[in-house]
């Protein structure tokens, strides 16, 4: 049983606020991904929980016990830092048995536990290698085994897959999830890769400028992004600028540039207010004939790219806006050529509306 709770935690470095009044509860056995762009405070948050740095304000509790003044060696966490920090002068087995030995176990007990962990991470055959002789994926597994051998029930992973190549990354993230579940670990996994987060996490915590921006299950975050930032950061989307031209009961009309009118199922913004519409690329429908339906926009194909599972079309609309459409690559899906005329449909129920960001849309989209 391992829980973590942060109450109003703040951490500053030389006057710069890295973590700004964060409140977070992590339940026993939960797998939580801290997702955020570079500089959002993810690593700082992890280091605060591991105890290698101390908060300036607020309380950190592990298993309900206040640990602000508990040094890292007594917190019982398995901290796997970025690049793993495997001890380069020690062999794999010595690295893994470091924790048990440091806690005072005798050599045979320590070796036994370490071998178990190495078997679990499928590395029992490399016990006598030095870290420098292992591939990135193996190093990552040694780091995991080392963390687990210390008996910790709280796993702290800092970009655990960041240094690996794309294929291995995909393979190992499932393994990570499995390992955590099999060993009944509470896991906090820091990443800037939204795809990785949505696949492994029970819950995602989106961090921005040292604050929790949004949290929830991966599907919730994906379907109900709270802001342009989250919509863009998690999954990406088309963003169109406009203003509310008409407001009705449960719906509104938005006017884009070039007098394009879009019907939306939202009436929370008042007439005249500047807004940004967001719609997922795979929900932006593209067709050759503009059927007589709502929100059909005409344009021409500007670029096409083949993404494997998907075909992506960049459509230049008549009003000058650009929209990307993702179409599953199936045999009977329509194919488009560059320069060809195309119609894009944005279904009202798929469109999300956000107030126009004070610093401008581009600035908001660049904040990754």
């Amino acid at each position: 049983m391992t829980t973590v709770s942060l109450v109003d935690v703040t951490k500053k470095f030389d006057g710069i606020t890295a973590i700004n009044h964060i409140n977070l509860e992590i339940h026993d056995g939960e797998y939580v991904c801290i997702l955020g762009p570079t500089g959002s405070g993810k690593t700082t948050l992890l280091r605060l929980i591991a105890g290698v740095i101390k908060p300036d304000e607020g309380e950190i509790c592990i298993d309900g016990k206040l640990v602000n003044d508990v040094p890292p060696q007594e917190r019982g966490t398995a901290y796997v830092p970025q690049q793993y920090a495997l001890f380069p002068h020690l062999r794999v087995i010595e690295n893994v048995s470091f924790g048990p030995l440091a806690k005072g176990l005798n050599r045979s007990e320590a070796t036994q536990i370490s071998m178990q962990m190495l078997e679990m991470t499928r590395l029992a055959w490399r016990t006598n290698s030095f870290p420098g002789e292992l591939s990135g994926g193996m190093q990552q597994r040694v780091a995991l085994a080392r963390g687990l051998a210390s008996g910790a029930k709280l796993l702290l992973l800092d970009e655990p897959l960041g240094a690996l190549d794309a294929r291995l990354r995909v393979e190992l993230r499932y393994r990570l999830r499995e390992l955590a579940r099999e060993n009944n670990l509470t896991t906090i996994h820091v990443t800037h890769d939204q795809e990785e987060a949505t696949i492994v996490a029970d819950r995602i915590v989106v961090l921005r400028n040292g604050q929790i921006h949004q949290e929830g299950t991966p599907t919730y975050i994906y379907n109900q992004p709270k802001s342009i930032f989250v919509a863009n950061f998690v999954g990406g989307a088309n963003f169109l600028e406009g203003f509310i031209s008409e407001r009705k009961l449960g719906s509104s009309w938005v006017e884009l540039r070039g007098r394009f009118r879009i019907f939306i199922k939202d009436n929370s913004h008042s007439v005249g207010e500047r807004v940004v519409l967001a719609i997922r690329e795979e929900l932006s429908k593209i067709s050759k004939n503009g059927e007589d339906e709502v929100n059909i926009l005409r344009g021409t194909i500007k670029a096409t790219s083949f993404l494997g599972d998907f075909m992506s079309y960049e459509v230049l609309l008549e009003n000058g806006d650009t929209v990307n459409c993702k179409v599953p690559t199936t045999i009977n899906s329509e194919k488009f050529l560059i320069g060809e005329e195309a119609f894009v449909q944005l279904k009202p129920q798929d469109i999300r509306v956000y107030p126009y960001p004070p610093a401008g849309l581009y600035k908001e989209l660049e904040a990754l």
């Binding site: 890292p72 830092p81 920090a85 470091f98 210390s150 702290l156």
Partner: protein, 541 residues
């Protein structure tokens, strides 16, 4: 500039530069001491006529090594906690300690020796606290204390640099795995810093082995290698002189390379952990004790003996005698004429030998850093070390034989050449380390952007290593001005400032205040030189 840049892209010019600097290395640095000893190899047998001198020679050599080992080990034990304290302390005041740690390094060793003598055995120093009884009289213990003082900053400087580079993440990882801070340091940090520990031990070791001027001042009847050489030279025994010099040269090279080969392979044997005991050692109280001990050792055994020489000056300032001596000094009256002459000599030699080292040494430093000589590079890197490994007075003895054998060389130039030899390694080692730390990609990118080799050097390499050029220059210059052993061995009629000061102390005819003032001037001028150099480097950006 443009002409130089054009020339630098010609392969033949580059070859010529390397050939010139290699030729310089062999003709002025490596071969003179070897030939010098070989020239006198015949007189080696003379020593067997004097059995008591032979036994004395063996004892002197053995004591040299014993002293160097004890001192370096103690310095490492005491210097590491201070380096740690400097790097890890969050207090702003620590930068003061950091700067102070360099002070003994910048004081010429003769001045330091006299200062330590006054502190430990002088009537106004430590004996004063014990009712005037001589607590530490000149001899072995005082030599140990002195060597501890001047080797200490070497260790601290090297270890502070290494600790700053060290990735603390290893220590964090160890601690989250349950290791007490002390355990983490013992099993992770120290083994990872082993190369630096070995390097700083070796630096301290060769410094202790080599130091002459200060040691003579505090040695009393105790003889180590350099003191023995000086005594034999004074008494005019050439046989024992050659005997001890050649053995010291050979054994010190041997021991140095043995340590540098074996030490990095040695394992820290203890992997066992004592959680309860080490937890106590990691407790805040133990840490405070460690920090205060480190500070105490530093202040009492390093700073106080180094700066104690200034005390007579301060006394004199209050009882009004300073003015008289000062006016004598400034009017070059009496022995002051000799003093200013030798200061001028020391600074001229320092200036010429530093300049020579920069011009002739830079290509070698680049060649070593960039492995220009393919497989021969590491060999060159190793032999370049020889001048600092070898006791400077022994080196000086063989150099003096060599330069005098050429007959017509004026004494001044023999002194310049030997000072160049002595300081060569310092320049090469610090420059090549600095150049090596610049990624080759920078130079490669610059060349793909169309820059010629000399342009790259001037616009990329030099600006990035500016600080190292500065510190290498300082190192070479202060070493040259402060050098006593080699100067003593080579000089016949000309006396450099350190040699003159040793004579003053040993002769005992010069008033104490004059001596203190002379040493004060030497310290003052070295600080002023440093300051000027620093300003020059800042301004020449």
């Amino acid at each position: 500039m443009r002409a130089l840049e054009g020339l630098s892209s010609k392969t033949i010019v580059r070859y010529l530069v390397y050939i010139f600097s290699l030729a310089f290395f062999f003709a002025f640095i490596l071969l003179p001491p070897i030939f010098g000893i070989l020239l006198k190899i015949n007189s080696l047998g003379e020593i067997y006529a004097y059995p008591e001198l032979l036994t004395g020679a063996h004892y002197a050599i053995i004591w040299s090594f014993i002293t160097a080992f004890i001192v370096s080990a103690l310095d490492l034990i005491a210097g590491l906690p201070l380096a740690w304290f400097i790097v890890r302390s969050k207090s702003r005041l620590i930068s003061i300690i950091d700067t102070l740690a360099d002070v003994p390094f910048l004081i010429p060793t003769v001045a330091l020796g006299y200062s330590a003598l006054l502190f430990w055995s002088g009537s106004g120093g430590i004996p004063n606290l014990f009712g005037g009884s001589m607590f530490v009289s000149p001899g072995f213990v005082l030599v140990l204390l002195l060597h501890f003082t001047f080797s200490f900053p070497v260790i601290v400087r090297v270890m502070v640099g290494e600790l700053l580079e060290y990735k603390e993440i290893y220590e964090f990882a160890a601690r989250t795995l349950g290791a007490q801070p002390f355990t983490a340091v013992r099993t992770i940090t120290l083994p990872l810093l082993k190369p630096a520990l070995v390097a700083s031990f070796l630096l301290s070791f060769s410094r202790s082995l080599s130091e002459t001027g200060a040691t003579i001042m505090v040695a009393g009847t105790f003889q180590n290698g350099p003191v023995y050489i000086k005594n034999m030279k004074d008494m005019g025994f050439e046989g024992p002189l050659v005997y001890v010099s050649s053995i010291l040269i050979l054994t010190s090279v041997l021991v140095f390379f043995l340590i540098s080969l074996i030490a990095p392979r040695s394992k820290f044997p203890i992997r066992k952990v004592w959680p309860k005991f080490e937890r106590k050692l990691s407790a805040p109280a133990s840490l405070r004790l460690r920090d205060s001990m480190a500070l105490f050792v530093f202040l009492f055994f390093v700073m106080a003996p180094s700066l104690f020489v200034l005390l007579p000056l301060i006394y004199a300032l209050f009882d009004g005698t300073l003015g008289g001596t000062l006016s004598l000094a400034l009017t070059s009256a009496g022995s002051w004429g000799d003093f200013w002459g030798s200061m001028l000599l020391s600074y001229s030699i320092g200036f010429i030998s530093t300049l020579t080292n920069i011009i002739a040494g830079l290509p070698i430093a680049i060649a070593i850093a960039r492995k220009k000589f393919a497989k021969a590079t590491p060999i060159l890197g190793a032999i370049v070390n020889i001048p600092i490994v070898v006791p400077s007075i022994a080196l000086g003895v063989s150099l003096s034989f060599f330069w005098r054998s050429l007959g017509s060389i004026p004494e001044f130039w023999a002194l310049v050449f030997s000072h160049t030899t002595i300081t060569y390694t310092y320049f090469i080692m610090s420059m090549s380390a600095a150049i090596e730390s610049i990624p080759t990609e920078m130079e490669e990118v610059a060349s793909t952007l169309g820059a010629k080799p000399f342009t790259i050097f001037r616009k990329i390499t030099l600006p990035l290593t500016k600080y190292s050029v500065f510190s290498a220059t300082i190192l070479v210059f202060t070493r040259s001005v402060g050098e006593t052993g080699a100067a003593m061995a080579v000089s016949q009629t000309l006396k450099t400032a350190p040699v003159l000061l040793v004579d003053w102390v040993k002769g005992g005819v010069v008033p104490q205040l004059t001596l203190a003032l002379g040493i004060g001037f030497l310290i003052l001028t070295s600080f002023l030189t440093l300051l000027l150099l620093r300003i020059a480097v800042r301004g020449g950006r």
